[in-house]
């Protein structure tokens, strides 16, 4: 029969293991699938992930779950991400220019408003009203490579896995719609 101390020690050991598994990149894309977490931590892996997420709070991090295409527990992708959003200046120091972030924000919002898919040509035509052509080509290609956007063989763009993991899409849509009204209400 296990003692409470032994249980606590085991939980701590598994939490440490969960952190190590999550922080080290294994495959091409970051994050660990549900079935891998079960293999590393046992069947109670979800509870351990919850404990870890709580422990990471003082560091400003959290464990985030991205549902998989099959909708099963095994296909969920677990990721470590920032709990709070960075400031625009911090985002810039991470190598993102304001123009690049604006292209991404507009692309995500437009794709979502078009039922989750849009042809690359249509997106580029729309963005050309606001951004120079060379920047759009460069930014869209970069965001496809980094997983923010997903491109299929018919050159249709969809929301990529990284956007699902990093961006609160609903808030983004609301914030974009609220941008002009905030200024108006201030007046």
């Amino acid at each position: 029969m296990s003692t409470p101390e032994a249980d606590r020690a085991q939980l701590e050991r598994k939490t440490r293991k969960a952190f190590q598994v999550l922080v080290l990149q294994r495959g091409r894309n970051p994050g660990v699938k549900g079935w891998e977490m079960r293999r590393y931590l046992g069947k109670d892996y979800k509870k351990i992930v919850e404990v870890l997420s709580d422990d990471l709070k003082p560091l400003g991090l959290e464990v985030f779950q991205v549902p998989g295409p099959e909708g099963t527990d095994d296909s969920i992708r677990f990721l470590l991400r920032f709990r709070e959003a960075p400031t625009l200046t911090e985002a810039e120091t991470a190598g993102f220019r304001i123009d690049d972030l604006a292209v991404l924000a507009a692309s995500i919002a437009l794709i979502n408003s078009k039922q989750g898919r849009i042809s690359r040509k249509e997106l580029e035509t729309f963005l050309r009203n606001k951004f120079p052509r060379w920047r759009i080509d460069y930014a869209v290609e970069r965001y496809v490579k980094r997983g923010y956007l997903d491109r299929d063989d018919k050159d249709m763009l969809r929301i990529g896995w990284r956007t699902r993991a990093e961006v609160d899409e609903r808030s983004l849509m609301t914030l974009i719609l609220a941008q002009g009204t905030q200024a108006t209400s201030k007046l």
Binding site: F82, A85, A91, S113, Q115, E166
Partner: protein, 262 residues
């Protein structure tokens, strides 16, 4: 005989029309798959009954294959309709026209700010794995030298990239000395107006309406910088390039930079 021939022609015409219906259906589905048009533009029930009606008339295997392709395209459209409904119910749906208008109205800074406010970057340690190292080694080992790489396609034709001097441009009648000077002064004045004593983004400044104009402005600006009337600064973190008019004498950290003009 004449009546029999007319009947046979009539049957052929009717069969051609039916085949045309199927080809048109395939094209419609293809268009919807490769655009953001609503998949509900296709009336599945009507198209299925059309396929069902024409089915007994097909005798050739090629036509049957077209029929099955049409069927497969309809299945894809049903799948798109399912995704469309799920998306519409997910509260992410906003009228595209409203959103497009909004994006046009707000500034780039406001767009970027909206994004930053709901962005939670992934935290992760990047590392070089032994597999990655092996892949890099194999790539480097098998990489053909630059001089050999395009020999098959282009042979030894073409000239290497080089530099062009002002004298050469003058001899090619691209510039005259006077025109060049006046254009330099115009560009310098524009820089003075636009920068107003502070730094301005280099790429925004040199951007012209056409790539040729951009290249020309970048070329002229290089002369303004060389003459010491303007200076460039590269942000080491973002690699953003800034240009400003020179105030005071250049310091010891001044150096020449190469910029790729896109």
């Amino acid at each position: 005989m004449a009546i029999g021939g007319a009947t046979s022609d009539g049957r052929k015409d009717s069969r051609d029309k039916k085949l045309e219906d199927i080809l048109r259906l395939i094209e419609l589905c293809r268009n919807i798959e490769s655009s953001s048009v609503s998949p509900f533009e296709v009336d599945i029930r009507e198209k299925l009954s059309l396929l069902k009606k024409h089915m007994p008339d097909w005798a050739l295997i090629d036509v049957m294959l077209k029929d099955s392709e049409a069927m497969q395209r309809l299945v894809t459209i049903v799948k798109l309709q399912d995704a469309w409904l799920k998306h519409r119910a997910s509260a992410l749906f906003i009228d595209p026209l409203l959103l497009e208008l909004k994006i046009q109205m707000i500034s780039k800074e406001e767009l970027a700010d909206s994004f930053a406010k709901c962005w939670h970057p992934i935290a992760q340690v990047d590392q070089l794995t032994s597999k990655g190292l092996e892949k890099a080694f194999v790539y480097w080992r098998d990489l053909v030298p630059m001089s050999e790489r395009f020999k098959d396609q282009f042979g030894k034709y073409g000239t290497e990239a080089g530099t062009i001097q002002l004298e050469e441009l003058e001899s090619l009648n691209i510039f005259t000395k006077e025109e060049f000077e006046s254009r330099l002064n115009e560009l310098y004045k524009e820089l003075l107006d636009r920068s107003k004593g502070v730094e301005t983004d280099y790429r925004d400044f040199v951007a012209g309406k056409t790539p040729e104009e951009t290249a020309l402005r970048a070329y002229l600006l290089a002369f303004v910088v060389t003459e010491g009337r303007a200076t460039l600064r590269v942000d080491p973190l973002t690699e953003q390039i800034f240009v400003s008019t020179v105030q005071g004498t250049p310091g010891p950290g001044t150096k020449s930079v190469a910029i790729v003009v896109r």
